[in-house]
């Protein structure tokens, strides 16, 4: 027997008007979900997926900037998308939602109990609600404030809140995007069990095809406000028909992705950079796009001669890297403790316990672990931003100047009032390479570096806020390599980006690494991305490196329980 349809969206079109421009966020979208089914709405930033999530709750901006046509029907009640007064009866009863940011989606001034009791009716019912989302010691949690809970706990509380009114439809808008991978797996399984118990329909908005496949019965793929493909989840993933869906699928990085070649579909900007690299090395190659498309474009091909190494070693060919014995980065017995006061007592948090490792010339090493494992502290110490309590860091490699960092939030790491040219010049001026350079020379160097990361001259005069997230991350990379460092330190550089943009950033890092002869330290919680960049993967937990694994056969070779858990958390 077919379950009744809970949500029907017919011919929904949403436009936003602002500064004289009209932007169509969603165009002629129709979809429906039956009780007990989960529909995944998959797309990248700006595809309109979150607008639909907001529309089916009647919370599209009511300030007059949005305009919508079409019908939405929830649990048999017909509604217009924006202004219908009947939304007041529907929202919070028939439809509730779980949002992305568990840090800020709960009122910081209220205890969990005070929030939850309002929707469950009593403290006993709240305890039961928390136990349903697998929170132990629920009675204690009720007395806590949101900032006293971990991200995973907060998101469980969100789920309990959303399911408390027993809705017919639950909207989950990127519910695990802000969480660590292993926490993500836990929260997804809690969410899955909870909605199975509740029997409601679910609209699951996500950019992550892996998550969508794990959670959803059906998938609708969105691009530029349009639904380009719908179908059963397994069909869409296994046999994507639309070209865009195929491209999304190709951009997915898993533990079996080919590490020796660029990932994803050939991208014009990266292809252009590759041609530049080859031309600079005196081996012009017009066939890179074809070779990439055909799958036989190996990174090996971009290995160039590096003058600095030649001078330092007397060898002219970089293939003789084995002769370079000095590591690019040596971390020796680094120890770090953060002290804080809790109720008047000094409490130490021992974040790094006697950590040692080396990164060889041209080698890429990934540090993987969850929040609190100490990996980011280690990166900051390697960058010289922080000092270790004891131990030492040596980043005087044979080639390149010092260390440079690429951060997760490129937008925040670029000074907002400086132009891109000024940002790059700032780095050039502080190096020995740049000493004595004229403005024009620095400009030329900046420009050629920008071209290398797939940007053009027009970006030079722009300020960071005028650029997209992907462009900002490229500018950050350009700043880091405009004078090649001996080690490029990357702190989760792709985890805030859309999959296709993340792909091109990973391709760029690989290209730069091979052509410029830079060593890379890549800090991430994403094992698949780590494996793609690195030659060796160091697994960190509790401030210690517990395992070192070769990247190629990472999934098979990893032995520690903790490492295995990280591998299992990668949603295929």
């Amino acid at each position: 027997m077919a379950e009744p349809i809970v949500l029907t969206v017919s011919d929904l079109t949403v436009t936003y008007r602002g500064r004289g421009r009209v932007v169509t966020a969603v165009q002629d979208v129709s979809l429906s979900i039956a009780a007990g089914r989960c529909l995944g709405l998959v797309g990248e930033s700006g595809s309109g997926k979150s607008t639909i999530g907001a529309a089916v709750q009647g919370i599209i901006a009511a300030d007059g900037s949005a305009h919508a046509t079409g019908r939405i029907s929830i649990a048999g009640r017909d509604l217009t998308p924006i202004t219908d007064p009947a939304w007041a009866q529907v929202r919070g009863r028939d439809v509730t939602s779980v949002f992305q940011d568990p840090m800020r989606s709960l009122d910081p001034t209220m205890t969990i109990g005070r929030m939850l009791n309002r929707y469950t009716g009593s403290a006993e019912a709240s305890v039961a609600a928390l136990e349903r989302v697998q929170i132990r010691r629920a009675g204690e949690v009720l007395k806590k404030y949101p900032h006293q809970l971990s991200g995973g706990m907060r998101q469980r509380v969100m789920i309990a809140l959303a399911l408390a009114p027993q809705p017919r439809l639950l909207v989950a808008d990127e519910p695990t995007t802000a969480l660590d991978v292993s926490v993500q797996a836990e929260v997804l399984s809690v969410l899955r069990e909870s909605i199975e118990g509740a029997g409601c329909a679910v609209l699951f908005v996500t950019h992550d095809l892996g998550v969508a496949r794990h959670m959803c019965d059906d998938i609708a793929v969105m691009k530029d406000g349009l639904v380009v493909e719908t179908g059963a989840a397994d069909d869409v993933i296994a046999r994507p028909e639309d070209a865009y869906t195929q491209r999304l699928m190709a951009s997915r990085i898993t533990l079996t992705t080919d590490r020796m070649r660029p990932v994803g579909a050939p991208e014009p900007a990266v292809v252009a950079s590759m041609r530049d690299v080859l031309a600079d090395q005196g081996r012009p190659g017009d066939d890179v796009a074809d070779a990439w498309g055909a799958g036989d474009l190996e990174w090996e091909r971009f290995m160039g001669r590096t003058a600095a190494v030649g001078a330092a070693t007397g060898l002219s060919d970089v293939r003789l890297v084995e002769h370079v014995t000095r590591p690019s980065l040596a971390v020796n017995e680094v120890d770090k403790t953060y002290w804080s006061r809790v109720k008047g007592r000094k409490v130490g948090n021992h974040v790094l316990k006697n950590v040692s490792f080396e990164i060889g010339y041209r080698e890429a090493v990934a540090l993987v672990g969850e929040s609190g494992s100490g990996k980011s502290t280690l990166l900051r110490i390697a960058a010289g931003i922080e000092n270790p309590d004891s131990g030492s860091v040596d980043s005087q490699g044979v080639a390149g100047e010092g260390t440079q960092v690429i951060f997760q939030d490129a937008g925040a790491s670029l000074t907002p009032w400086r132009t891109v040219e000024e940002l790059l010049r700032e780095r050039i001026e502080h190096t020995t390479t740049g000493a004595g350079m004229s403005r024009a020379q620095m400009r030329a160097l900046a420009l050629s570096t920008l071209e290398l990361v797939g940007l053009d001259e027009s970006v030079l005069a722009a300020r960071p806020t005028q650029l997209s997230g992907g462009q900002q991350q490229r500018v950050a990379i350009a700043r880091a390599v405009v004078v090649p460092p001996s080690v490029l330190l990357c702190d989760e550089p792709t985890s805030a980006l859309d999959v296709s943009v993340a792909c091109s950033v990973l391709n760029l890092i690989n290209l730069l690494r091979h052509s410029l002869g830079i060593s890379v330290m890549f800090v991430t919680h994403d094992l698949a991305a780590a494996r793609l960049i690195a030659d060796r993967v160091l697994v960190m937990t509790g401030g210690e490196i517990v395992e070192t694994v070769g990247a190629e056969r990472l999934a098979q070779d990893i032995t520690t329980d903790y490492g295995r858990r990280l591998v299992d958390a990668v949603l295929a």
Binding site: R91, G92, D101, P108, Y145, H147
Partner: protein, 332 residues
């Protein structure tokens, strides 16, 4: 919470000690001889010596500081150099006058702030007009507001509100010195109402600037609270706008407003010095400006110390209030 309050009180004592040290040091390094101020320019050398001994200025500096602190703790600030009377006596009527005015001004600040905050965030022309009016008001110095309000309410409106002094009747015997309170304690509505009327103009003049500042911060806080993810959560759970505002936004918006209020309370004390002059208000402000004129350092020190203490106490109260409002302050 109790621990938090106790900690704040502990630091209050420390701050007050250093304030005392600062005021005392300023008196010592100031380029004027207190003894000369006391005995007059033409006094004989013996008279000067006698006065020096009488004022305790022949003792070593640490001893002088010790007795200064011991006196200040008991409310004894020594003798005024110009009037030769104990400063504590002179302040006994003026302190309540200023505290009463400051209290009303602060209350008016909150009233202005909260009521303007709702006008402030109105969209459209009306909101824009109100923003213009209050920007103008806030950019005017308080003495200008004081004189303007005298002009309007006393001159043009023919004495609708009194423009000078604290009362038309004078103080009661054995009273608290807070006239409105005295009126109530003595069961006299006429006296109370008269005192309130006298308070309105000076309190308003002192409150406008900080009221507008408060309104801005409160309005900004409320609008950013209403746009925050947890407000969206509340809406998605079916709460109406009014409930989102009352239950979630106001409380979250009030912590920056409270911090601002503490700073504004400090400015208020200094603007009272001017406002008291305009309204012939016999408070600490007019006493201070008189004392500065003749270089009466013990008097200046006493007023600075009292105003400083009031300021520090107010800030401590605000800190405690902040902790009550925001669990992150209290529990981190």
């Amino acid at each position: 919470m109790l621990v938090f309050v106790a900690k704040r009180l502990g630091s209050l004592v420390v701050v007050l000690f250093f304030l005392t040290l600062l005021v005392f040091t300023l008196g010592k390094v100031a380029d004027s001889d207190p003894v000369r101020t006391y005995v007059g320019v033409n006094a004989s050398a013996e008279a000067v010596e006698a006065a020096r001994e009488e004022l305790g200025l022949d003792n070593p500096i640490p001893v002088q500081f010790g007795s200064f602190v011991a006196g200040a703790v008991q409310g004894d600030f020594g003798i005024s150099l110009s009037s030769k009377r104990p400063i504590a006596d002179e302040l006994s009527t003026r302190l309540p006058a200023t505290l009463e005015l400051a209290g009303w001004a602060l209350a008016l600040t909150v009233v202005i702030g909260v009521s303007l905050a709702s006008l402030y965030s109105r969209p459209g022309r009306f909101g824009a007009f109100m923003r213009f009016v209050f920007f103008s008001a806030a950019s005017a110095p308080s003495f200008l507001i004081a004189m303007l309000s005298v002009l309007v309410f006393y001159k043009w409106l023919d004495g609708a509100l009194p423009a000078a002094g604290r009362s038309s009747y004078g103080p009661y015997e054995d009273a608290t010195g807070f006239y409105v309170l005295d009126g109530i304690l003595h069961g006299s509505p006429t006296y109370t109402w008269d005192a309130i009327q006298h308070l309105l103009l000076p309190a308003f003049a002192a409150a406008v600037g900080s009221g507008v500042a408060l309104a801005r911060v409160l309005a900004d806080g409320i609008s950013s609270s209403l746009g925050s993810p947890w407000a969206r959560t509340a809406r998605a759970l079916g709460e109406r706008e009014g409930t989102v505002l009352r239950r979630h936004a106001l409380r979250n918006a009030s912590s920056p407003a409270l911090s601002l209020l503490a700073v504004q309370a400090g400015f208020m004390v200094s603007s009272l010095v001017v406002v008291e002059q305009v309204f012939s208000w016999n408070g600490l402000g007019s006493y201070l400006s008189g004392a500065i004129g003749v270089g009466d350092f013990p008097a200046i020190a006493a007023v600075c110390l009292i105003l400083g203490a009031v300021y520090v106490i107010l800030n401590t109260l605000v800190d405690v209030a902040l902790a009550a409002v925001d669990p992150r302050v209290r529990l981190s």
